[in-house]
Symmetry: C2
């Protein structure tokens, strides 16, 4: 039976009208009451554009207050927000816009040619407000957002999130991390990704402020943790690296209780470094399909189980398609998991069976039930019959002082089927392939040591900042 | 669409096997892993009694670990727990047992003649364990408990609670009170009532210990708050009075962050006293039908809005059937509200319309949206066309030093229709009706002052310790 709750922003504005909902580095703030009033006012203006129940509306913006208002405004009309990644090309954006059937896009600025009507936030504000009925309740079964998977291969798929998916994600995280009355969550991850969007949801559900940063700036992020009473921050590996660097021998205030680390496996040495500086990094595992984290290392285990992504959140379940302690594909289930892909029954059928989502990731659980993600299934290198996980080699490479970052990929080989080859970015021009290979031989079995090492300027990353391994081979010109 | 979550006790035992689930004043503790194993073992023994999906099983016990185990055991079999009040007569119990169709009752001891097979907890432990499949998941739409409303008039009705009702109640409370990793909840309210049962649910969902007291003992309860690191306690008025008395001029440790007060309106002077001693009493409003509190005064407002029950919890809604600021019947809605009464479609139809529950209580909201409960609708006294709320007069009476407790009720009167009459319990034999009436005249409009004052030994209370006003008149022998 469908669960109905009061509209969450209206409710939060009624419960805690004067509490801060949004704080920004320049000092501007919005209370929940102000955010509600602005969002309702924006909704009344959107009505002029024919936005109604189930209308798909694109949102193309960096983390700006107007974007937050626009998202909430769509909820008041029952419209579906198609979250568009600002880093995509026009071609990529048009694919998603057309696939989702979005005829209208709300943009921060007019700087793209897109196959839909574009309205900037300020253009909407200039429209008259209609006297229209706004949603007073939320049906958790209704669709709220569509977010395309960044797709390191193939066409992106539009992941459908209901309000319930986001609700359960927020509740699952709260059961893991607790909820303190002084919590403040750093929102620097892009809101067009589910990792950033979920911070917004938690804010309105928990009644806590977000510290909203329009784009990632390591100095500002560091300052937020040091001086702005941020208690929890959602981060990715590169941010942890930057923050540790800026922290130096210093310490964060005790109020910093969690750096929630997502976006893929982190190098072991980085986690060790964080541990040694008493920075509470909690690894997590999740994807667009799970409405952000679904497996997270809890506070109690963060130090003991370094390298693990933890255990599935309270409402979630996990299965590994393998014998105990063996590596296999990771399956997850829970009310935060998407019901499927928009307009793509085949992809849905392929990915979801009896509510279990096949993640395409490989991992194992230890005897205490902690998940260790080893790699993407499709990135697995099979060399002479041995399984080689690029992420394992990358992690060792990242531990070598001379190496800033590294990517490993399988290359066709007549004799072995595939061989691992590495692409590294270094700040030390004097380091040689031989240095690196000899370092690797001290840490890895021989068959895992890349047979070829390539020095490149930067690693190819997609719009989510994820390493795109299959583009690495394009660097080999021979 | 039905939400499926992993079985909550199994899950908590997997997430935090060594965390304490139950702590008792004698020092014994059970971890979540131990509680799970015992509950599963008990379930395997119950199987012999033919307990299966949807079987109604009575539970008749005081707050004992075996009772907790029995409740969880039923969840592993999908059976429905009919929670029976140990203070009821055999006749009252048999009414509920027959109405619920419970053929089996799990009892603490064999001390009643009941119209069902009785098995003591220890008898079940003596049975062999069957190798049977236990539930690994919980469907939130499934029925979990039936609890009969204590019924100050008429036949009791069996309130049906789904797992979802209990889940949402726990989540709603968490969003109000927050969740700290060191939380420990005092469970002294009877678990056969929803107020006590809900503590058990929060424990397993939040992963926090309960401090389980078999029966109310004011000294032990005081000790729990003073010395046992209890952070939250569910209490009723009489307990607050006792605790304040024992506290004297002392102070609780800072770790005591909430005394959640339910069970009916509390006298203003008691709340003022608590405030002056910095005891964080949060008034709340709820009933069996709402799976415990549904309206609660939040930490931020506890001092400002003394006397109010607060605002509806995040997932809940409230309406007063009256003009703004006027007294009217209280209606509530939310996913913690029962879907209806067992085996009683008529009562369900009368009470619930479009998911809104008519509570039968009267109240109003102030201009900030805070609820003030004034009385039960059926206890309203109409005297010469004026509405008189017994609870208001009782509250004033309770503020008079000579009076221990008081009950007010309407008596038929030829001239006025009804007149208010008071029944008081006093420790000061010298106090007279005239003293009391003259005190009341200083605080209340004349038409509200009871025309007759009766001195009695104790007030008639039902098994939930609630004043049964309609039995007061039986004290008048003329």
């Amino acid at each position: 039976m469908a669960d109905i709750i009061p509209h969450w922003l209206t409710k939060q504005a009624a419960l805690a009208p004067d509490r801060i909902a949004i704080e920004q580095p320049d000092g501007t703030t919005y209370t929940f009451l102000e955010l509600k009033e602005k969002s309702q006012s924006f909704a009344r203006r959107l009505k002029k554009l024919g936005v109604q129940n189930d209308t798909k509306i694109g949102i193309l913006s960096s983390n700006h207050t107007h974007m937050v208002i626009a998202i909430h405004a769509l909820t008041y009309l029952g419209a579906v927000a198609v979250m568009l990644n600002t880093r995509l090309t026009e071609e990529e954006l048009n694919y998603q816009i057309n696939d989702a059937g979005a005829k209208t896009i709300l943009v921060q600025q007019h700087d793209r040619q897109l196959e839909a009507e574009q309205y900037s936030f300020s253009e909407v504000w200039d429209m008259p407000a209609y006297d229209t009925e706004l949603k007073a309740e939320i049906d958790l079964d209704d669709v709220f957002t569509i977010i395309y998977t960044s797709g390191t291969t193939g066409f992106p798929k539009g992941v459908i999130h209901t309000y319930g998916n986001h609700w359960w994600s927020a509740v699952g995280s709260m059961l893991n991390l607790g909820l303190h009355s002084d919590d403040k969550w750093l929102a620097v991850l892009p809101i067009f990704h589910v990792g950033g969007l979920s911070i917004l949801m938690r804010s309105v559900i928990y009644g806590i402020p977000i510290y909203l940063m329009e784009r990632y700036d390591k100095q500002l992020a560091h300052d937020a943790l040091m001086n702005k009473n941020v208690t929890i921050a959602s981060v990715v590996t590169i941010m942890v690296r930057d923050l540790l660097h800026l922290l130096g021998e210093g310490r964060y205030p005790d109020t910093v209780r969690c750096l929630l680390l997502g976006g893929g496996p982190a190098p072991q040495n980085l986690l060790e470094q964080a541990k040694s500086r008493e920075v509470p990094v909690f690894q997590s595992y999740g994807m667009t399909e799970t409405s952000s984290q679904i497996v997270t290392l809890g506070p109690e285990d963060a130090l003991e189980k370094i390298g693990s992504s933890g255990k599935p959140l309270f409402p979630a379940q996990l299965q590994i398609n393998a014998e105990k302690n063996e590596v296999g594909e990771i399956f997850v289930k829970g009310p935060m998991v998407t019901k499927g892909y928009y307009n793509n029954a085949e992809a849905t059928r392929k990915s979801i069976t009896n509510d279990w989502l096949a993640t395409g990731d490989l991992g194992y659980t230890d005897h205490d039930g902690f998940l260790y993600v080893v790699d993407r299934r499709k990135d697995l290198i099979i060399s002479g019959g041995e399984n080689i996980y690029p992420a394992e080699i990358e992690s060792v490479l990242a531990g070598m002082e001379a190496i800033r970052e590294a990517g490993v990929v399988g290359k066709r080989d007549e004799k072995w089927g595939q061989i691992p080859v590495a692409f590294v970015v270094t700040d030390h021009p004097s380091v040689t392939s031989e240095d690196i290979q000899s370092y690797l031989h001290r840490h890895l079995a021989s068959y895992k040591v890349p047979k070829e090492i390539y020095f490149i300027e930067t690693l190819p990353r997609n719009a989510s900042n994820k390493l795109v391994r299959n583009k690495l081979l394009e660097h080999i010109t021979d």
